[in-house]
């Protein structure tokens, strides 16, 4: 007979969210499918999606403490406890290829010793990497020259505030849910965001000018399992989880591509005008940025240096040419 295993799975965001979508629509069914083939084990999913158990500030604690056995962990919100994973946010303009980023982090999380240690000491097993598509400027004005950003107020929450340093623009805190109102009421004049995330917020209605600046894709976090829970699983189930993790990475990448594409079509149909920042202006932006990776290195020390170098090596290995060599001379 089949042995049944209850798995608590959950997230701070709803199932339609880009980082959660593949958990429900790929991870769970793939595990089910793999296990069904052998017929030894069967998983009972206890789902708590959509923040019914904890909110976005607690995604690490929730998996680490076993509130859920498997969950979406946004390391982006863990600048204090899991800073190493946030290397992409401190090294902007590296790559806009989000599928490459998934591949890199699926690999680094399993092979880079400092990252492996970070997940282990947080009592978690990363299964599949999560990313954003490339960040651009959605605003009430187009950015043709860097001087267009002078004295503008842009929503740039968290680490993305760093990307505006040296541009003359003032970063204003916010979240996907506040951009629309902020811009509509003039609190800000635009925002840094990515297509797949911004579409449902209808920000294009109030900020109809998109300038593609290519700040790049960002590693956002991982779908991870609680380590105590994972270690206690029978070997075939562990293998199924790992296999499903890979399928999830693929599905996540495809879903983000699809969403980003659809977002562009829909937004342009709704009147969004798209501009491209010229290469030389982009270079000026990148050159004007202060050494924003240094505070992160100060915080993370040698481990940070090792992760930074591994990340940039992986980028170049896959043919990416970062606009700034943040790893140089460290």
């Amino acid at each position: 007979a089949q042995e049944s295993i209850t798995v608590n799975i959950g997230s701070s965001h709803p199932e339609q969210n880009i980082w959660v979508y593949a958990m429900k629509n790929t991870f769970q069914p793939t595990v089910d499918k793999i296990l069904a083939e052998k017929g030894e084990y069967q998983v009972e999913w206890a789902e708590s999606y959509g923040g019914t158990l904890y909110k976005y500030t607690d995604t690490r604690e929730a998996v680490q403490d076993g509130i859920v056995d498997v969950g979406m962990v946004g390391t982006v919100w863990e600048g204090s406890t899991m800073p190493l994973q946030n290397v992409t946010y401190f090294t902007p303009f590296a790559t806009a290829d989000h599928k490459m980023l998934i591949e890199i982090f699926d690999d680094l999380n399993a092979s880079q010793p400092d990252l492996v240690k970070s997940w282990e000491s947080s009592n978690m097993v990363p299964l599949s990497s999560l990313i954003t598509d490339s960040y651009d400027v959605y605003a009430t004005f187009p950015v043709n020259e860097m001087s267009d950003l002078q004295n503008r107020r842009l929503n740039a929450p968290g680490t993305s505030a760093n990307w505006l340093q040296g541009t003359g623009a003032t970063p204003v805190d916010g979240a996907l849910t506040t951009y629309y109102t902020n811009i509509q009421t003039g609190v800000t004049e635009g925002t840094l965001s990515f297509a797949s995330g911004i579409l449902p917020t209808r920000v294009y209605e109030v900020a109809p000018e998109l300038t593609r600046v290519g700040v790049g894709s960002m590693y956002f976090g991982s779908i991870a399992a609680n380590k105590d829970f994972f270690d206690g699983l029978p070997e075939p189930v562990k293998a199924a989880f790992r296999e499903a993790g890979k399928a999830t990475s693929k599905a996540h990448g495809d879903y983000v591509s699809e969403l980003a594409e659809k977002a562009m079509t829909d937004m342009q149909a709704a009147g969004l005008k798209v501009h491209d920042l010229s290469d030389e202006q982009k270079a000026a932006w990148v050159k004007g940025l202060p050494d924003i990776v240094q505070p992160w290195i100060d915080q993370t020390g040698d481990a940070g240096k090792a992760v930074l170098s591994a990340y940039f090596d992986a980028l170049r290995e896959r043919g990416a040419t970062p606009l700034r060599n943040w790893d140089e001379g460290r």
């Binding site: 904890y54 909110k55 403490d65 509130i67 609190v187």
Partner: protein
């Protein structure tokens, strides 16, 4: 026993404890702790969930607006802005049937445009309107009920804490929610006025201790305060300034809805200082009272959020969603069931907790069934607000009762007096449900 059965059993336990008078925060926290322990079979997990809720469950910018809106309400109260508004309404509506009741509703409507929490309105007008009404032959319980009933306007007419919370949960523009709330708010106010006048005419025994005294006062030109048009204008200046500051600031973009509480409180402080109604000692008292009032709400929010997490672990939200989807209710069946559930929850839970529990489940279903999310938001907030007035847990009634502090007026009597208000709210809710334009008219 399945976790679902445990979940339902624990709801029963909670209702029992609350009915027998246990402090609601203790009951929610205790039952939820027990529930998580039982369902997941781990004491440790229960402890960790408790810690998580106590810390990050409440550390949200949104919740910072609560003490600030309360502070604004109390400052406005101390500087007599509420009383002046009421006095002007009283003078203008002197000849109207049930004039003081109507004046309370009118003043509440205007006051609602500067305050975002109903309990602020309830506290202010309890002190201002109830003594004046009882002095003129209105029943004390009816007066208190009128104040409690009309205080719900504070959360429907923008700015409103509930509209903010709904906007966040359903991911719709908060500015849009504010606009959507205006017309239903006005409808509600008009409904209250018509209901009060009808009651005074048809069931004077429900309204007055001495119907004759009230009638002769209405006919007596000299009764009540006298104000020249100039005085009326002067008395209205502060509230108009505050409305311009809060709503004007919101719509010109100087600040966000979440910041309106802070700016409004500061504006009210300036007005209070300008009117010399505030010395240092009094300011400290007001601030201390702000703390006392808001801590009991915020503590309830922590407790309710812990409780709703327990329900989620029990699988209740999922079960309900499945139930609704499988039942094939369709548009009307769904909305009626939804309103009924919110109404029942409103009896035992506070407004914010209800929103936290139902909106994430219901909003996607509603959208799937073709509801406009702004429209659905107003339906939700109206249904939730009814809970402010329904026993056993009706926070507006409690606030009035607590502020009044009169042993002669029991909680039950106030609950009873708010019943006509609940009926009007149900009527307006029905109109809003069948006519989405009432919410979305000004949106596009």
């Amino acid at each position: 026993m399945t976790s679902l059965e445990i979940g339902f059993l624990l709801i029963g336990l909670l209702v029992g404890l609350v009915l027998f008078g246990m402090h609601i925060a203790y009951a929610l926290l205790g039952v939820a702790f027990l529930g998580i322990w039982l369902i997941r079979g781990s004491l440790d997990l229960s402890l960790r969930m408790l810690e998580l809720t106590a810390y990050s469950g409440i550390s949200d910018y949104l919740f910072a607006t609560i003490p600030l809106f309360v502070l604004m309400g109390l400052l406005v109260s101390v500087s007599n802005v509420g009383r002046d508004t009421f006095e002007v309404a009283e003078v203008l509506l002197k000849r109207v049937l049930c004039g003081l009741g109507v004046a309370t509703v009118a003043a509440n409507t205007v006051f609602a445009a500067v305050t975002g929490v109903s309990i602020a309105s309830a506290a202010v007008f309890t002190r201002v309107a109830v003594p004046e009404m009882t002095r003129h032959g209105y029943k004390a319980s009816f007066s208190a009920g009128t104040v409690a009933g009309s205080s719900v306007l504070g959360m429907l007419i923008p700015p409103s804490l509930l509209l903010i919370i709904y906007g966040v949960l359903a991911e719709v523009s908060i500015g849009g929610m504010f606009i959507a709330g205006i017309l239903p708010g006005v409808m509600l106010a008009l409904g209250f006025v018509i209901m009060l006048m009808a009651l005074a005419a048809l069931a004077p025994g429900f309204v007055f201790t001495d119907p004759e005294a009230a009638k002769s006062r209405r006919m007596d030109v000299d009764a009540g305060p006298h104000l020249t048009p100039g005085e009326i204008l002067l008395k209205l200046v502060p509230i108009v300034l505050l409305i311009i500051l809060v709503l004007g600031g919101l719509y010109t973009g100087f600040f966000t809805p979440t910041e309106a509480g802070g700016v409004g409180a500061f504006g009210a402080l300036l007005i209070a200082i300008g009117r010399r109604s505030l010395d240092r000692r009094k300011l400290w008292q007001v601030m201390k009272q702000t703390g006392t009032v808001s801590v009991s709400i915020l503590l309830l929010l922590i407790a309710a959020s812990f409780y709703s997490r327990m329900l989620s672990i029990a699988g209740l939200p999922n079960a309900i969603q499945t139930l609704v989807v499988d039942s094939g209710f369709g548009h009307w069946g769904f909305v009626l069931l939804y309103v009924a559930i919110v109404f029942l929850m409103g009896m035992i839970l506070d407004s914010t907790s209800i929103l936290l529990i139902v909106v994430p489940i219901a909003a996607p279903i509603a959208q799937g069934l073709g509801f406009d999310l702004f429209h659905f938001g107003i339906i939700t907030v109206l249904a939730v607000e009814i809970g402010l007035l329904t026993p056993p847990f009706g926070i507006s009634v409690f606030t009035v009762h607590n502020t009044l502090n009169d042993p002669g007026t029991s909680v039950e009597a106030i609950f009873l007096a708010t019943m006509p208000f609940i009926l009007v709210m149900l009527l307006v809710l029905g109109i809003v449900i069948v006519a989405p334009a009432t919410a979305t008219l000004f949106l596009r």
